[in-house]
């Protein structure tokens, strides 16, 4: 690191900028790919349950049964798409995936409700997707329980002349994501994952390309130093990465309507640190692989998979096996995901997020130093 020569650093940076700007295809990919990924994952990965396709078989056809059915119809979580007339039809719809759930009201439903007696409501679901089914069942349960409670209140009022006072009154309110839209939770984490992948991919080619085309042999015969070469190579990709970050934040804000509650300055400052780490990781991979194909494949496996699966973006870290939880501490995306979520959703700043920021600084510094050290001015 001793004696960093800014002229040589500048020369490398200028050359790398030219490489980037004269390869419009690569530049296009660098800008468009993160946007495409944001769109695909942002829209596809929503974990909200909306309009579950529902079949209703009302065998009773009474005002009471129609009342319950209308509550399903009125719910935003369900959409009644079939009115089967037999269990055969119910099963057929579920099997074909036309519906995900079926509500079956028995013939005696209306009569028993009217006379204040207990009656069963049957709900059949397609259990293959356990998560979605569990969610759907809880929504259905709520609707049925609500109706059941209203019937009870009505009955008591008829007998005693006044409505009963329920012993517990639950008032529920979600903070930070008031409407509990998963999009608002997903987009900040997604930005972290995408930035990790795209930046490491960008730089994973740069050093390997010089080895492959033979320019590296010429380069190492000059007085250039590792620090000058690596920092010079980082410069243009850092610029591209920051543009990607800016576009992602803009898309998150205006396309996905995700509010940013924290400081924008802090957001970009920490992103810059994260970028340096991810870009350096790409260079490190590139210097070790010495082949563009190997480097880009390795960069993909080394960044995307852990960032996607182990960062807490997709799966809650607290629910992972202990051994895997330990591994997640080594995944820098984990800290960036936590940081972005905190900053986006809760508006927290350095006061709460300093451990994450500190670890990202450590990651960035470690990667940068390793990348510089990985550059050997020797063949073989």
């Amino acid at each position: 690191m001793s004696g960093l020569n800014f002229r040589r650093l500048g020369a490398v940076a200028r050359k790398e900028f030219i490489h980037v700007l004269r390869d419009p295809r690569a530049l296009g990919i660098a800008i468009v790919l993160p946007m495409v990924m944001l769109m695909i994952f942002g829209y596809a990965l929503t974990m909200d349950l909306d309009r579950v396709p529902l079949a209703v078989w009302d065998q009773s056809r009474t005002p009471q049964s129609r009342e319950l059915v209308s509550r399903f119809e009125g719910s935003r979580y369900f959409s009644v798409v079939a009115r089967p007339g037999s269990y055969g039809e119910v099963e057929g719809d579920l099997a074909r995936g036309r519906t995900m759930m079926a509500v079956v009201l028995p013939v005696e439903f209306g009569r028993r409700v009217a006379s204040g007696r207990k009656v069963q409501v049957q709900i059949l679901t397609d259990g293959s997707d356990a998560n979605t089914t569990t969610l759907a069942i809880s929504y259905a349960e709520a609707i049925v329980r609500n109706y059941s409670q209203e019937l009870l209140v009505e009955k008591t009022r008829r007998i005693t002349g006044r409505p009963p006072a329920l012993p517990l009154d639950l008032r529920f309110r979600a903070w930070f994501n008031t409407d509990m839209e998963s999009r608002i939770f997903i987009v900040p984490g997604l930005i972290a994952v995408i930035m990790m992948l795209i930046t490491a991919l960008l730089t994973s080619l740069t050093v390997a390309r010089e080895w492959e085309t033979g320019t590296m042999e010429q380069l190492i015969s000059t007085p250039i130093r590792g620090s000058e070469l690596i920092l010079g190579k980082l410069a243009p990709y850092f610029a591209v990465g920051m543009v990607d970050m800016l576009l992602s934040v803009l898309a998150g804000r205006f396309l996905f309507d995700v509010p940013i509650r924290g400081s924008l300055l802090l957001l970009f400052a920490v992103s810059a640190i994260y970028l340096v780490g991810a870009l350096s990781l790409g260079i490190l991979i590139s210097a070790k692989a010495k082949s563009q194909l190997l480097a880009s494949q390795f960069a993909f496996v080394a960044t995307f998979l852990p960032a996607f699966l182990l960062s807490g973006f997709m799966f809650d870290i607290a629910n992972m096996p202990k051994a895997l939880q330990v591994v997640t501490y080594l995944i820098p995306a984990r800290y960036f995901v936590a940081f972005l979520r905190g900053l986006y959703l809760k508006g927290t700043g350095l006061a709460e997020l300093w451990p994450e920021c500190l670890l990202m600084v450590a990651f960035g510094a470690l990667m940068l130093l390793s990348a510089i050290r990985s550059f050997k001015k020797r063949l073989a």
Binding site: R7, R14, H19, Q218, P223
Partner: protein, 306 residues
């Protein structure tokens, strides 16, 4: 003063000995040619001397600096042109030269002048805005040379610089090297072309990692003991087989002629004529000729190698 010196310089790659105990010295201002077929160890020697490859054993000094201990200091004083075109195809001629000028910290003052001179010298002036990737083979090599010369090196290492270059560009290239020699630049060049080796002040013959001879071109030719006979006859291919079987000396086929290295000119001539007569092959003439480097190679190297 010796600008390049090696002492039992050896490099192994696994079991393969790429360079075996190379010891040689190159004087300041000399054009020294390292001559040998592919795989002789020329590129390995170049890489060891430019400090980008470490020797397995032995030592080397360039411009008084040790090739391993002072490898980085050496890099300021040398220009190196690798065998493979090492410039950036998506940068223009001028951008490539500027890049290397900055790496070598060539002062901005006077750089323009030097650049103009180098461009003019290599006939690249009209192409300065052209992308290096769009240059012809000969122009690429001249651009490589210009990049290696931008910082006025004391020693220039050129690894097969004219490989695959047309004859006109080759002549241009050598004209530039002679001009550099006027400026006391030491030039260490490797080549597989024997006609090109004849342009060097001194040459070293390298074969399978070993230095077979090291002298002036005439000196190396003088190493050939005996007289070289050129035989022109009917069915040269068959005749060569017969002469080789008769063991009258080293026999090599050059197109439709046979070169025979005999101990004595007259006795050699009569034995050749006698052998051909017995086999009934018409002999059109047997002349004593001046050896070329190719003869040196075919006689000095184990048969079948050259």
């Amino acid at each position: 003063m010796e600008t390049v010196r090696t002492q039992a310089l050896t490099r192994r790659f696994g079991d393969l000995v790429a360079l075996d105990q190379l010891s040689l010295a190159v004087e300041e201002g000399e054009i020294f040619g390292l001559v040998g077929p592919d795989g002789a160890g020329k590129t390995t020697t170049m890489r060891l001397l430019t400090g980008i490859l470490e020797p397995s054993s032995g030592e080397a000094w360039v411009d008084g600096l040790h090739a391993v201990r002072d490898a980085e200091a050496i890099k300021d004083r040398i220009g190196y042109m690798a065998q493979r075109f090492g410039l950036y195809p998506d940068l223009t001629v001028q951008e490539n030269i500027d890049f290397y000028a900055d790496l070598y910290e060539v002062p901005k003052a006077g750089r323009g002048e030097r650049l103009e001179r180098l461009l003019a010298f290599s006939n690249l002036t009209p192409f300065r805005r052209r992308l290096a990737g769009n240059l012809s083979g000969g122009m690429k090599q001249k651009l490589g040379l210009a990049c290696a010369l931008i910082h006025t090196p004391r020693v220039l290492f050129l690894d097969e610089p004219t490989n695959g270059v047309d004859p006109v560009s080759r002549r241009d290239f050598w004209r530039i090297l002679y001009q550099l020699q006027q400026e006391r630049v030491t030039i260490f060049v490797s080549t597989a072309y024997l006609d090109e080796a004849e342009r060097c002040n001194r040459i070293g013959l390298l074969h399978q990692g070993r230095l077979m001879a090291c002298d002036t071109v005439d000196g190396v030719k003088g190493l050939l003991q005996g007289a070289l006979l050129e035989v022109r006859c009917e069915s040269p291919r068959r005749a060569a087989v017969l002469l080789r079987a008769a063991k009258i000396g080293n026999v090599a086929l050059f197109g439709d002629r046979i070169h025979v290295l005999a101990e004595d000119a007259d006795r050699g001539r009569s034995s050749v004529e006698a052998i051909l007569r017995v086999e009934g092959l018409a002999c059109h003439g047997v002349d004593v000729i001046e050896p070329t480097l190719e003869d040196i190679f075919t006689s000095a190297l184990p048969s079948g190698a050259a």
